[in-house]
Symmetry: C2
Amino acid sequence: MNRSAQVLATKLRTLSSLSAGDLELIDRVIPPASHYEARRDLIREGEVPQYVMLVVQGFACRYKTLRDGKRHLVALLLPGDCGDLHAPLLDHMDHGIATHTACLIAKIPREGVLDMLESPALEKALRRSTLVDEAILREWLLNIGQRRSEERLAHLLCELHHRLRAIGMAGEAGYDLPLTQAELGEIAGLSTVHVNRVVKELRRRELVYLRRGRVEIPDPRRLAWLCGFNANYLHQLAEAGTFS
Amino acid sequence: MNRSAQVLATKLRTLSSLSAGDLELIDRVIPPASHYEARRDLIREGEVPQYVMLVVQGFACRYKTLRDGKRHLVALLLPGDCGDLHAPLLDHMDHGIATHTACLIAKIPREGVLDMLESPALEKALRRSTLVDEAILREWLLNIGQRRSEERLAHLLCELHHRLRAIGMAGEAGYDLPLTQAELGEIAGLSTVHVNRVVKELRRRELVYLRRGRVEIPDPRRLAWLCGFNANYLHQLAEAGTFS
DNA sequence: GGAACGACTTTACCTATGTTAACGGTTTGC
DNA sequence: GCAAACCGTTAACATAGGTAAAGTCGTTCC
């Protein structure tokens, strides 16, 4: 099974169980990935989407830009995540997608997507995946709209912990996070300086140690409690390696 | 054609053109609506979705609640809007849906949705509709994350103007908006007091007159300019009665 | 017609967060 | 091996927006 297919399969398995046939189908349909450097646009706002992008390795993001150049990340795409299945239905993108770190990206042609949707189990997994993407958007909206900076960052770190654990990219108490503090700010709607203040405070309270692309969370449940994190909205299957 | 079907057809026509056959199909599939009073839960967080809700009349909303009771509206459902097509794929709701004003709501059974998805034109319209819902979520995230209170409210009012115009519920320069200032705050992530400050300022600058459930916008383009509003993300068909 | 209620207003005060600017440490490129 | 760039850190200061409380106005209900 090629690498791209494997990554997608891992992700989809966190949402629905797949048969051997499904795996073969994925393998047949997913093209090999190509390499992109960090901070490259994969598609810009206003352009016409042709493929469904699948992140095979690295972190990518969806972003929107304001007139004054301020940018806001509206989604993080982790390995196994992909763009909207039906994006090609729209005439133009209302946001951009860019790599964050260096990435491997597979471009799935529209027919490939349609083939996968033929399998009931795959259809279920793919549709659940888009529902979860939407649920994450809602949670981010709540996060920015109602929580104060400390809970806000904590919540984001909890979410990433869960999502990365589900795909085997995080341990019990930490994970690699290739995001600068400025970038965390672009997600959380905070200035770099303030992100730094919060990170410092979280460290002082021994809740999170964040440094050089690595996050350590000595007591995940304590952190989750602090920010009211509840993983329900990720709709992960119970087996998918989450801690309760 | 029954009322519920008509409202849905109006909405879907803003996204894709429909044939006579499509209209008949809608008419056959959409059940009559029932009446709900204002501020009633249609479905609560944690419950299992059974139907796809269609708002026929009135305003409804999606909301999420925090431990401390603070609520945040994560979507406004206007007449013709409906819940996620595939929501029944999820085990439980990660947010609630409630009426805002008194509403007429039609509950579309799952098979009805599947029937509609059989028609290519309807499928296109319905899928575009869910893509637009997601696009609105992203725009709201940007709105709250990056814009200051004045632009933020202005942007929200512009969006509602466009959405309501598309379904024939707004004129060139105004519309009825049955939301209190407190509720606008729950959408924009602002306190009631601050919403009031902003409303006052917008009035002083002759940009928006907001009073008793009615919004008057003397110069929509000036308002749109102020807050950088660009309707692209609504992906409305050109004919759908939007002002340029 | 008066009481009760809800929405809207305003004031005074407080604080979370933004802004600007500067400095030190690491990594990267030549 | 040095310079440049980038990132993280901190300080001083500015301000947008939150909170609490009270008053006004219009509507609804008896």
